[in-house]
Amino acid sequence: MDFSYTILIPLIPLALFVILGLFSKKIPASISGWLGSLGLGTSIALSLYTAYHYFMDGKLEGVYQTFVYKQTWLIFTDKLHIDLGVLIDPISVMMMVVVTTISFMVHLYSRGYMHGDDGYTRFFAYLALFSFSMLGLVLATNLFQMYIFWELVGASSFLLIGYYYTKPSAVAAAKKAFIVTRFADLGFLIGILLISYYTGTFDFKDLTSLDGMLIAGWGASASFMGLSVFTWGLILIYMGGVGKSAMLPFHIWLPDAMEGPTPVSALIHAATMVVAGVYLVARLFPAYYFVEDGFALQVVAYVGAISSLVAALIAVTQTDIKRVLAFSTMSQIGYMMLALGVSKYEGHEGLGYMASMFHLFTHAMFKALLFLGAGSVIHAVHSNYMQDMGGLRKYMPVTHITFLIAALSIAGFPGFAGFFSKDEILVAAFESNKLIYYSSVLVAGLTAFYMFRLYFNIFWGEDRKYKHTPHESPLSMTIPLVFLAFMSIFAGYIPFSQFVTADLMPFEAHLNLPLAAIASSVGIIGIIIAFIFYKKPSDLPERFANAFGFIYKWIYNKLYFDELYIFVTKKILFGVVAFSASWFDKNVVDSSMIGIGNVTVSVSNKIKGMQSGKLQDYAMSFVGGIVVIAMVVFYIWIN
């Protein structure tokens, strides 16, 4: 079977980017939107075809095969070289579909949303760049290729967040996103260096092969602080994932990233880029699982669980709807992480892995939908804040319905996509770690609560004083909504375990009814509470918030993470390290160099008296010179 044509899937957006980027001034807005959508349309068609092709025929003796097409790009040493290419296996195909789908939807949507914007063409160029980078990341054949596209994704995210570059907050957010993720990527890079040093390869195939150097040989490697260096390497690589996926403690950039245009948030910060961390762990899953008995994987699980819980809590308190969604995203990605973390490898044991990917898939659909819906709302009312919204269901029926579907889906309402994927995660957690399971259930409830808090606040309640009457968005924006709503319902019925598994062998997954019941009831309780609190305006939420007092405040302020970071960066890194470096440079290093010159000049001034202008002084020094030289010489001579 030949999948080499898949290389076109990322290359089409690249071509788009080059064309739109180089000629952004020349191409009229109307054309560039269509051009972008068309390009992505081709990509999605290709990737769907690939998916079909692969999942139908990609098996050999019941195991999904991995296809690799690559070209050497840069050679470091005899063993280490960077290849660029495509790697076709279940998760990459699945991700490819997700990325092209969402990207295509966002392209379509943006044609309406960005209408009339100055940098319309530029926007589409960035989108194309992002799609290219993300696809390159997804299809990476080795760690370094992934790192390359990882960075590119970061950069396009920077460009897109900072799209409204005249807005200081957008610039700050873009910078923050870039720098925070870059700091995390530092870990990624060092991890790559560590792993590649000991294994002599970047290649995913070698790294995840069960008898490869990494998995088979970790026990023999050196250890550091009680852990194998391989474990350290994996943890460091995971640090990159933590950064990109906005897990604790590198999550702080994600809420701010909402400064970007809303379609961007849907594409990057909900559906695709932020799951890169999940994808990274999934990509290296055998390594995480087998090295040092899965210690690194446990780290993944706990980071995921904690992030998911913390994010859910914070989401409850936020009033900016995009921020609510951002924290929700973080929480859901935590879910995926923890699912991976609790997963095992073989057969049905690998349920968590499957669940994680499944959730990734469904989440992409409904979260994109939520964002696009939110975008539609924002587009209508020109505000991000809940207090500026209310009763919009009358004005925006399509948005309202699709938003509701998405909310139900994310809340895990039975029958919707989210229900199925979330259930699998809970089952996996239940089977392996009870603590994580309970926290996940709690998160499920919280999720339902804050989603419906959002929903009721926006679409129910009283009308606010709108500057002009809100109206439904144009067709170009609603069509993607409808499509995604469709997906948010029916994606759940895809038999994912047939396609995506840890050991590449399909297995039968069944709904675990008791656990599903618990989860959905918790979700429904959340919805009901939200209904009570927010269906009609009341002072209940306020009283509730007051009852929790400083805890509420603490959570509302996102646990003061931002402040902590600002303290560390501004006060310590800038204020102390950077300041002292530049002070030291100016006052010690430079001064000492100048000082050498000054000393020379001042010595020169000090000794000017030697040249007294007196003839007899000169004579004395003349004779003195003779006498001194003679004495010195004789002194040496006598000895």
């Binding site: 050497t72 790009w73 840069l74 050679i75 470091f76 040493t77 280490l80 960077i82 370094f144 790192y147 390359i148 596209f149 960075e151 590119l152 950069a155 920077f158 460009l159 900072g162 570059y165 005249t166 807005k167 200081p168 610039v171 700050a172 873009a174 910078k175 870039f178 720098i179 870059r182 700091f183 530092l186 890079l189 060092i190 260096l193 560590l194 590649s196 040093y197 890194l573 800038f574 390290v577 950077a578 300041f579 470096a581 530049s582 440079d585 290093v589 430079d590 000492s592 160099m593 100048i594 010159g597």
Partner: protein, 496 residues
């Protein structure tokens, strides 16, 4: 006339043409552009000629030529190139041509400006083609001294002091270097045979270890000062800040590369034992320089200072990589030299354009320029991203090659230092984004900036000239890196 000597002779001819025929600015820049254009074409030609020649010629150096100069001292005018010199020559030609374009509108003493610039270039070219220590040293000093006039006459701010500091520190370093060179020379007959300045003849000799230990640091420091080795880098920030745009470009882009090149080709190649014995000491210095330069750059208020400290950081990385003693790191070091040369030249060009329009370089006073000057803004952002090592640009290739190479060092201490150095990429992104974010993005800081003139065609030409190789290296690095690796082989054989 052979293909290499032309690189020295053409600039001299241009200087003469300028001296005698240029009457005003127009003629001066016409002659310069044509001359530098020829030079540029020659350098492109050289690359292809080199590839062709390399296929049939396995000597270390190709296009060699040897003319006895000072018979008494066995000084020869001997030239030749390997891949390292070829790419450096190409870099020089590109930056020079771009520099001439950027200096299109120099108003004060234009003829003299171009003369100094081009005289300097003949030194640089000569330096890169020499395979004789003495000749190389001569060209090195020729390259350094016009700097004084270039900064002193056409600079800005405290130009006189900066120019003086720069010249004295660099010439002081070259003075130290001359002692090192003499030390090498007088030990070049250790195995019998005549004293020689020829690099490859010396490389056949086992210089006594005691001598290597003494002369290696002298030679190293002599070259490394111009490569911005901490703590001898302080000439660089003030010098760059005061220099006119094209000069900053040329200096940071090309001249500072002489340091790394010299360290590699002379100090390390000729004194391998000394290099090994001293490596830890200089390694720590250069690693410190990487981090230190990056942090110092964060706090700078003047755009050029930011870039100057960034150069300190990036060039310390070159030295760091050179001291890692393996092929990959060395390849990385050379690519880093190239990449930094192009990128920093772009940065200085851009800063010059912004300064030329707004008459300020203070970060605090600038803001939102992108809105007014979209082309400059876009290139600025691209340059910034490339500078902080974004894939697809040369910086990434260079840094990654260095990091991967350095991390292959079998010694744990070296690997730990590598990790420390790697972390500089975060600091780099901090200062780059801070700078880009502040001056290009955000609201317009000053209403007066609304009517700033757009980028002119020659400015665009200059920038694009530099950008093309940056992207070419970034996208397709394999050919370059393989070409360099081949030329690194002799170093490998001698040092390890």
């Amino acid at each position: 006339m052979d293909i290499l000597s032309l690189f020295v002779i053409v600039p001299i001819l241009i200087v003469l043409a300028l001296t005698f025929f240029a009457k005003d600015l127009k003629q001066a820049r016409l002659i310069s552009v044509v001359g530098m254009g020829i030079q540029f074409a020659m350098s492109i030609n050289l690359i292809f000629a080199y590839i062709k020649e390399r296929a049939v010629n396995t000597n270390i150096m190709v296009f060699t030529k040897d003319v006895v100069w000072y018979e008494t001292f066995n000084i020869h005018y001997s030239i030749g190139v390997d891949a390292i010199s070829v790419v450096m020559i190409a870099l020089t030609a590109v930056v020079l041509l771009a520099g001439v374009f950027i200096s299109w509108k120099i108003d004060d003493l234009p003829k003299e400006f171009f003369i100094s610039l081009i005289a300097l270039s003949s030194g640089v070219f000569g330096f890169f083609i020499s395979t004789d220590l003495f000749t190389m040293f001569v060209f090195y000093e020729i390259a350094v001294i016009p700097m004084y006039l270039l900064i002193g006459i056409w600079g800005s701010g405290p130009k006189e002091n900066s120019a003086m500091k720069l010249t004295l520190m660099l010439m002081g370093a070259s003075a130290v270097l001359s002692v090192g060179i003499l030390g090498i020379y007088f030990n070049s007959n250790a195995d019998g045979g005549p004293l020689t300045f020829n690099i490859f003849e010396i490389a056949q000799v086992n210089i006594p270890v005691a001598a290597q230990n003494i002369f290696y640091p002298l030679t190293f420091i002599g070259f490394a000062v111009i490569g911005a080795l901490f703590p001898f880098h302080t000439w660089s920030p003030s010098g760059h800040a005061s220099a006119p745009t094209a000069v900053s470009m040329l200096h940071a882009g090309v001249l500072m590369k002489l340091g790394g090149y010299g360290v590699f080709r002379i100090a390390m190649y000729l004194l391998p034992v000394g290099a090994l014995n001293w490596s830890d000491f200089f390694l720590v210095l250069s690693a410190f320089g990487v981090i230190y330069g990056a942090f110092a750059a964060i706090m700078q208020k003047d755009l050029k200072y930011v870039n100057a400290y960034a150069s300190v950081s990036h060039l310390s990385l070159v030295l760091f990589a050179l001291l890692m003693f393996n092929r990959t790191a060395w390849t990385g070091a050379i690519i880093q030299s190239l990449s930094h040369g192009l990128l920093t030249a772009m940065f200085f060009a851009l800063i010059g354009m912004v300064y030329g329009r707004t008459h300020t370089r203070e970060i605090e006073k600038l803001g939102g320029i992108m809105k007014i000057l979209p082309f400059i803004g876009a290139i600025y952002v691209i340059t910034g991203l490339a500078y902080l090592g974004l894939p697809g640009f040369s910086g990434f290739v260079a840094e990654m090659t260095i990091f991967v190479g350095a991390f292959q060092h079998p010694d744990l201490f070296h690997r730990i230092l590598t990790i420390v150095v790697v972390s500089s990429i975060v600091v780099t992104s901090v200062y780059i984004l801070r700078m880009v974010g502040k001056i290009m993005m955000g609201p317009l800081s000053n209403e007066e900036y609304k009517d700033l003139p757009k980028a002119t065609w020659f400015e665009k030409t200059g920038l694009i000239l530099l950008l093309i190789p940056v992207i070419m290296i970034g996208v397709l690095p394999l050919g370059l890196s393989e070409m360099l690796k081949e030329s690194i082989q002799p170093f490998l054989e001698r040092l390890l």
